[in-house]
């Protein structure tokens, strides 16, 4: 009897289970192949994704994928009309505000943000009691050029005190914290400051308790362009967020721009060969780290968007809370390419997206 004879019985048992798992996997794979053949025309549900090499050859051969051929585990669709916002529109919805010039010729951008308490659908059939700026989560994307004067009037139509705290330079009196720019219910406050430095920034409510005020939906993108501008690109705002729907201190839903699996069920259409610029902002609460990884490609990383030259060339970047980066990339060939958090547990809970390169 060799050393195998000495194996503890538990090991032998484990070996038996492994064989069973193996058999089951084989079974699952063959079942899947059938599903892929049947549902091939449906971009991702039929798992009709192209591998990189297949795409380059320009062939429509279909690769296998687990989970019964479905990407995005939720059943049904979110009613965007009822929510009052569409994640696909939020992507490219840059708001320059009401533009005028002041006496010194400086561009003034004026906004009105109304805070409301509103139930939003964050996954099909799952409703979350959100607090919103202008009825949407994330709030409007403020887009300005460095040196512009920003005037945002906060009108509090909600049941709780709120503020807007901007990441950027401003005076203490408009910092947007309790005691310096907090609007009580029924009241309003105007924040007035110069947009600087240039970069990919964010704003959020800073009333207390802070976790509640941020997690409930009071945040948004604040993009400041450099004076000299940047190369032409298709720009997108991607706010990585999460929702603790049962209020136990852990998120049940993760997403890009609020709705779980919104961009895997309906991929984001982009053009092959065109420069893509994404402003990726992490506002996830309860988890210290979120991340983004794009498939079959690498991106130029501009940390916080505060430089004109890239800091790094990579395909995955992790971000702490309130950390945000600008990423640039180009897909050369058509096909479907997913991108997602590489904190992989978030993928299964909604943070899974896809580009459809045409």
């Amino acid at each position: 009897m060799g050393p195998l004879g000495e194996l503890p019985s538990a090991w032998k048992k484990a070996g038996r289970i492994d064989r069973r798992r193996f058999l089951r996997r084989v079974g699952a794979t063959s079942a899947f192949s059938g599903a892929a053949l049947l549902g091939g025309h449906d971009a991702l549900h039929g798992s009709g994704m192209l591998t990189h090499s297949q795409a380059q050859e320009g062939e429509g051969a279909q690769g296998g994928h687990g989970n019964n051929g479905h990407l995005g585990g939720t059943v049904g669709d979110v009613d965007n009309a009822r929510n009052g916002f569409d994640p696909h529109e939020i992507l490219t919805d840059f708001d320059g505000g009401e533009v005028s010039k002041d006496s010194r010729g400086r561009t003034v951008r004026e906004y009105e943000f109304v805070t409301t308490d509103k139930e939003i659908e964050v996954a099909p059939g799952v409703f979350f009691p959100a607090w919103t700026y202008n009825g949407r989560v994330p709030g409007p994307t403020i887009r300005a050029t460095e040196g512009d004067r920003i005037r945002v009037k906060l009108v509090n139509a909600s049941a709780h005190p709120h503020t807007i705290h901007f990441h950027g330079f401003h005076s203490a009196s408009v910092d947007g914290i309790p005691g310096a720019g907090e609007a009580l219910p029924g009241e309003s406050f105007t924040y007035d400051f110069i947009a600087e430095p240039f970069g990919t920034h964010l704003y959020h409510c800073h009333s207390l308790p802070l976790v509640q005020h941020i997690h409930r939906g009071l945040y948004g993108a604040f993009i400041v362009d450099p004076k000299q501008g940047r190369p032409d690109a298709n720009e997108m705002v991607m706010v990585m967020n999460g929702f603790d729907t049962n209020f136990d201190g852990e998120n049940e839903v993760y997403a890009l721009n609020t709705v779980a699996f919104a961009y895997s069920k309906k991929p984001i259409q982009i053009n092959a060969g065109e420069l893509q610029r994404a402003h990726v902002i992490n506002v996830t609460e309860f988890d210290p780290i979120n991340s983004i990884h794009i498939h079959a490609n690498f991106f130029n990383l501009f940390r916080t968007g505060t430089s004109l030259e890239p800091d790094e060339f990579t395909d995955t970047i992790s971000m702490g809370q309130a950390e945000r980066h600008m990423i640039e990339f180009t897909y050369e060939h058509p096909g479907n390419f997913i991108f997602h958090a590489h904190v992989t547990e978030f993928i299964d809970l909604g943070w899974l997206s896809a580009f459809e390169v045409v």
Binding site: I17, R20, N68, V75, A123, G125, V126, F127, T245, D348
Partner: protein, 402 residues
Amino acid sequence: MATTTAAKGRAGIPAWLGWLLPVVAIAALVTLFLLLNPIGSLREVPAVEAVAVERTVLKADEIALELRNDGPDPVTIAQVLINDAYTSFEISDRKLDRLESSTIRVSYSWEEGLPLGIALVTATGVTIEHEIEAAALTPEADGSTITIYALLGLYIGVIPVAIGLFWYPALRRASKRWIGFFLAFTVGLLGFLLIDTVAEGLELAGETAAALDGLSLFALGAVGAVVALTAFEGFLAPRRANQSGEHVGRSPVGGLALAYLIAAGIGLHNLGEGLAVGAALAGGEIALGTFLILGFAIHNTTEGLAIVAPLGSEKRRPSLWHFVALGAVAGAPTILGAWTGGFLFAPAWAALAFGVAAGAIAQVLWQIARGMTRDHGLASGLGALGLMAGLVFMYVTGLLTA
């Protein structure tokens, strides 16, 4: 009498209407309450969502959950999470009204022996969590599994009890002192079973959908069993008075009748035992090992002794058929329990069944204790020893199944 007549005359209400009036009044109150909702403002609190997972069935690459709305408000199941991943699923009815049940089917290649964390996300974002400790195929009610469960019941219930009955010839030759000892032993044994049954029943009551109130079901079963057996005893007593037989102490029922009562009590307990073993086996909580079966077999053999103990002092030997019947009454319910537990288990019914068993055992306990003579009673030296021996023996053999 005069006052009653006067009252009757004054009111002029017929008796049937007198009975009916309060019923009509409460019906009117209910109707008004539902129509006007006078405390509507007090109910403006968030819905209380509670769903009990009453049964899980694991098939090859499929998980099925039987749900029941356990709370006061309707619940809508929006999504299903398996091991923290959203998964596609089918549901017979998404919206569950109070006490309504529904079945969810998830296509999922679960792995044998590994835990499965299941969470149902409701429309309001509440999660209803259910943990399967170790995934295993749920036995289906086909020919072979029905046979296996029947054999299981046979091994742990019927055969051991039947073997225990063979103590009868020895008991017949025993002195009154020793019969007293064995009766006390029976009391100890039944006392142990009573505690065991109550503990199991209360545990199951805790698992029952809250709206179905498992504790009340348990109590209902227990009180019902006591009342039914007491009535049965009352039915036997007059017949016994006409017979010329030997008394077992001051018990109103004869030795044979007492033996049947004990058999019935033990049978109901074994129904519960079979239920528990069958359900645990089906749910993958225990493995069907040789040691487990032998443990139950040794444990239950003593139950046979308990049944024949009151026959020891009977002058006439009961016919052999009585022994077969006694064995069947006490042992066969194990098979029934194993089937029910394996294929149809629901905690609510189990709580009721355990309640019935507890009530029956308590009634039989009381019956034996009352029937024991002062000389050879529980307080006598040998009696106390027998009582302790019964408790200790059940405890020690019980360790074999732990």
